[in-house]
Every structure is written in structure tokens, then in C-alpha cells.
Assembly symmetry: C2
Homo-oligomer: 325 residues x 2
């Protein structure tokens, strides 16, 4: 049976798993990335983690079709190098070549949000559709776009960067240097920043204060959503702003590719139906053709495993497509 | 040889032409639409215009593969009905069925901007690419999206409506009922409206006054662009605003699908390189990854014939695809 290896290379942890053709994760292992080290050392760790997983599962190396690696940044698919990776502080680091040389198995790399989307397509919330957009709401806002059953990254490989869609003016600039990017409104980072702003500027009691021991540095997305669910005014103001712009982002994506489904993933999606209901309501209010339907909006199904599964499934994609179009 | 008939149904004129497999228009004819009449009468005119064109070119009816019709509105591809067409004041009008019954040739319908994009793909500025976005700058802002050589309209048929992408807040609402749609910034209508506003509010001399005989109702896109080219301050302010938001639209589309090429068409694109240079410059300023390339931006090549050619080529598309994804 064909097996695929997926590597989820993150700023904190690196996870490796073995995945079946159908997207089922059968075994995984992980270790701290310790990103302060040289890229060569981290790549050597990945190699050893892969060898360890093969060894522990006693899978025949010949059964492994390919290795896919998800990186929290921009990949060059052609050369298999990491172009930019702010999170790891990597720039122009070859990843495919050293691992292929060491392991003798084809290696592919791609952006982690794209791969989480691919995982949802292969084995999660987009399993039954051919066109879908995965939106990850975490430190930033990332996207994974599937068109006609294939990852769509665009001609220059900079598509599905939906966090950098301009949606309005904002009170602070994006890390990309521009003003108004979706991720400055709808990421966990944006939610925390705006909640702090409200707590500092508005004279409104909030239960958030109890949860952070009076230290705004303890604020996180979970605390804000919990307070919002309990009816807290400040928390709801902040969540509603996030949702308002996320809905604009969803409608803007619709105005381009109109997918069958939008899947909400990433840390904030753990707010579940509380978030989902708000997003659905706001999207319906924002439609440009009032009488025509817009894509369904659902929650991601795979959780933390999505990174490994999507990375593993990259090899399957490469069998069917030119990823550049 | 296979021939295709294209119908460009407009609010003012209706044009019908015969097009070869390669997108070459070999004969066309047109008549006033006289849209104040009943849809049935207009459809009867289309039928007669088609029969006339077949007769005049002495082409064997059996050689005609299909008829495509471009409408200035939203089409239901499945039933071949017009869902909405503000310009003609049509709603839920069957178009495919009566014409197929009368002529015995398969009929397909689609939005005119989409079809102008298809024409550029088959025989114009997108001839050599597989992924491109056609942007028409006219009364509104329309789009035609080609992905992997196929028209992409999306699951609910409301994709490529890029004029309804929200890009900022604006001082007036869009006809769709929302505020901030691209077409309220970058259409000819928006350009004229904003120029009027500047002429009324700003105390700046402008050569536009000479051209409109002191009557703001005479203002049009051509006059504004001519004045801008001659260095007029008011005209340049208005054009620069249009360009600033068009560039945001182009980068927003890039953040989703990152096409190989953007093609500027429609009435305002007649401003040619003056417009093109400004758009290219502004897009480069707006990139979210400063070091990575963004799709090339070019002018449309086909002009007024694009409507007929694109409509005709719709039959070729239907041979290869499910238009819903």
C-alpha cells in the first residue's frame, strides 16, 4: 500500500507522521523545533524524525511514495526551497534537496495554511467538494484554496494569501507594510490588539480583567471568546469587529472564485458554533446578489493533525497537477 | 469546418457574428436592441439576426456547432435563463430554450464581461496563458476569470464579480446596497461622479470646463482622461483615485488566485498606456511580498468584437468543462 510522510514544521514544534492514501494518519511523533539553531541542524532533526517514524512503524521504505513538508511561510515549489519564513527567520533555505539526498524519497514543500486546507479536502470538511477555501484564523489569517480538486497557488505562487486582502483602513499597519489587510482585522493577533485597545480606551467593565490577573499581556483569543460567549460587552465588540471583516473577506473571495464551501480553521475556530453562527449571519448580510446563494461556511474537522495530513497528501497532488496553475 | 455563432446582447445594440474555431470573427451584423419592448420581441429579433447572418454567409447550418449569447447581467447556465439583467430590465427570462426550439442549434449564455475575457483568452491578450483575469472598466467593473484554460464562475455562478469586492469605505453606496465596492471607485461611472464632486468642491481651474460647455452632464471618461493626459490637476486627481483602488483590486485578486496576467478592457481602457503605466506603477507599490513578482498587466486587444467572439467561443468551453467549478 502507498504511504505518505507528512512533516509539519512549526516555529515551536516539528511533527512527522505517516498517512495512508485516503488521508488517514496512522502514526506520528514530534519534537521541539528549537528554531534559534542553524537551519542545517533543524533539517537534520527532520531527517532523524522521519527515519525514526519509519523505523517505529516498521514500514518498508519502498512503500513511501513521498514526503511533504508544510512551512509557516512562502515556498518555492520548483526548487523546494523556503523563500521566506518569518517565524523561523529563514530566507532562501533549501529544504527539498538535502532531504531527498539523505533519504532517497521525493520531497515536496508548501505553505502550512495551504496544506491544512488540502488535509480538509482529502479527509475533512471539504471531502465531498471540488472547490473550497480553507481560512485559518491564528497569528495571521492564512488560506488554502482548492479549485477543481487541486491546490491553487497561482502563477507566481503568491495566491491564497487571503490575509493580505485589503478590506478597509485600519488603525495600525500590517507586517507587509500596507494598511488594511484582512489579517489586521481578523487574526487572533488583531483580536487581542483590538480588545486591549478597547479595554484601555473605553470605560466599560469587563470580565476579561478577572481572567488576566490585571495583566494585559495574559490576554489571548480563548479568554476573549469565553468572555464574549458570557455576554461581555468589550469582548463582543472585539469579536464582532473580527467577524464583520472576516465576512467581508469571505464575500470578497466569493466575488473572485465563489467556492462551494469555506472552512474556518486555526486557533480561533475553536470558538466553534459561537463564531460560526456570527460569521454566517454577517456573510448573509453582506451578499451582493441578495437572492443568490453564497458558499456554505463550516468549521474545520481535523484540528492539529491537519498539518501533517496535508503535508503528506502533497505528494498525491503532485501526481495530478502543475501547481503553478 | 466547425463554426460558432456569437451574440452580444447589449442595452443599446445587439450584434451577431460567425466565428471560426480559432476565435477569428468572419462576419457580423447588428441592430438596435430597443430594450423598451417585450423580451419575446427582442428574442425574436436575435433569432432573425442569426438566420440573416447564416443566410448572408451561405454557411451550412449543420456546420454551426453552437450559439453563445453574452448578456449584461447574471445568467443561469443550467437552464440558460437570464436571472437578472438590470440594463435590459429582465428578470428570470428564458433565453436558451426559445432559441434552441426555433433554430435547432445548442444555445449557451453567460455574462458579457466573462465572455469578453474568454475572447481575450481565445484570440487576444490572454492567448498564450492558462490563467488570467480580464477586468472591464465601463459603466461598472466586471470580470472574466480563466483558470486552467476554463471559465471560472464558481459554484453558485456569482464568481468573477470583482466589481463587488469591498476595498475601502466610499462616499456613496453601490447599487448592490453595500458600501465600498470596487466599482464605486474604478468604473467610468465612479470616475465621472468623483470628477464632478471635485469640480464642485475644489477651487481649482480645470480644462474640463472647456470640453463640457459648462454642463457637468456632458462629462465622460474620455474627456477626463484627455484632460489628465494634458496635465489637468482635477482630472489627474480623479484618475489617480480610480487607479489607486484598481491596483488594490488587482492585488486583492492576486491574494486569492494570483493569475499570470491581468487584462484591462472596457471603455476606460481606451486611455491606453497612460492608464496602463499608472496601474502598473501603483500595483508594484501595493505588493504584499515586495520581492516576489505579481501577474503582468496588459491592455485588451480585441475591442468591440470581444463580445461576439467570446459568446461564440462559449460552445468550445462547454465541450471541455463543467462551468460550475
Amino acid at each position: 500500500m502507498s504511504m505518505y510522510i507528512g512533516v509539519d514544521l512549526g516555529g515551536t514544534n516539528t511533527a512527522v507522521g505517516i498517512v495512508e492514501e485516503n488521508g488517514k494518519l496512522i502514526y506520528s511523533n514530534s519534537m521541539p523545533t528549537r528554531k534559534e539553531r542553524e537551519p542545517e541542524e533543524i533539517i537534520k532533526d527532520i531527517e532523524n524524525l522521519i527515519l525514526g517514524v519509519i523505523d517505529e512503524t516498521k514500514i518498508n521504505k519502498e512503500e513511501i511514495e513521498s514526503i511533504g513538508i508544510g512551512i509557516p511561510g512562502i515556498a518555492d515549489y520548483g526548487t523546494g526551497s523556503v523563500i521566506h519564513c518569518l517565524n523561523l527567520n529563514w530566507s532562501k533555505i533549501p529544504l527539498k534537496k538535502p532531504l531527498e539526498k539523505a533519504l532517497g524519497i521525493p520531497v515536496f514543500i508548501d505553505n502550512d495554511a495551504t496544506l491544512a486546507g488540502l488535509a480538509e479536502f482529502e479527509a475533512g470538511a471539504m471531502k465531498d467538494v471540488k472547490n473550497g477555501v480553507f481560512i485559518t484564523l491564528g497569528t495571521g489569517v492564512g488560506g488554502g484554496i482548492i479549485i477543481d480538486g487541486k491546490i491553487h497557488k497561482g502563477f507566481n505562487g503568491i495566491g491564497s494569501e487571503i490575509g493580505h486582502m485589503l478590506v478597509d483602513k485600519n488603525y495600525y499597519d500590517c507586517s507587509c507594510g500596507r494598511n488594511g489587510c484582512l489579517e489586521t482585522f481578523s487574526s487572533a493577533t488583531a483580536l487581542i490588539k483590538y480588545t486591549k485597545k478597547l479595554m484601555e480606551e473605553e470605560d466599560i467593565d469587563t470580565i476579561i480583567n478577572e481572567k488576566i490577573d490585571g495583566d494585559l499581556n495574559n490576554l489571548n483569543g480563548k479568554i476573549i471568546f469565553h468572555a464574549a460567549i458570557r455576554g461581555d460587552e468589550i469582548a463582543n465588540k472585539a469579536v464582532d469587529r473580527l467577524v464583520r471583516y472576516l465576512a467581508i473577506g469571505i464575500i470578497n473571495i466569493t466575488s473572485v472564485i465563489d467556492p462551494e464551501v469555506f472552512v474556518l480553521g486555526g486557533g480561533l475556530s475553536k470558538a466553534g458554533f459561537f463564531l460560526l453562527d456570527k460569521v454566517r449571519t454577517e456573510v448573509l448580510k453582506n451578499k451582493y446578489f441578495k437572492t443568490l446563494p453564497v458558499g456554505n461556511i463550516v468549521l474545520a474537522e481535523l484540528g492539529n493533525e491537519a498539518g501533517i495530513i496535508g503535508a503528506a497528501m502533497l505528494g498525491k497532488q503532485h501526481k495530478k497537477v502543475n501547481l503553478f496553475g
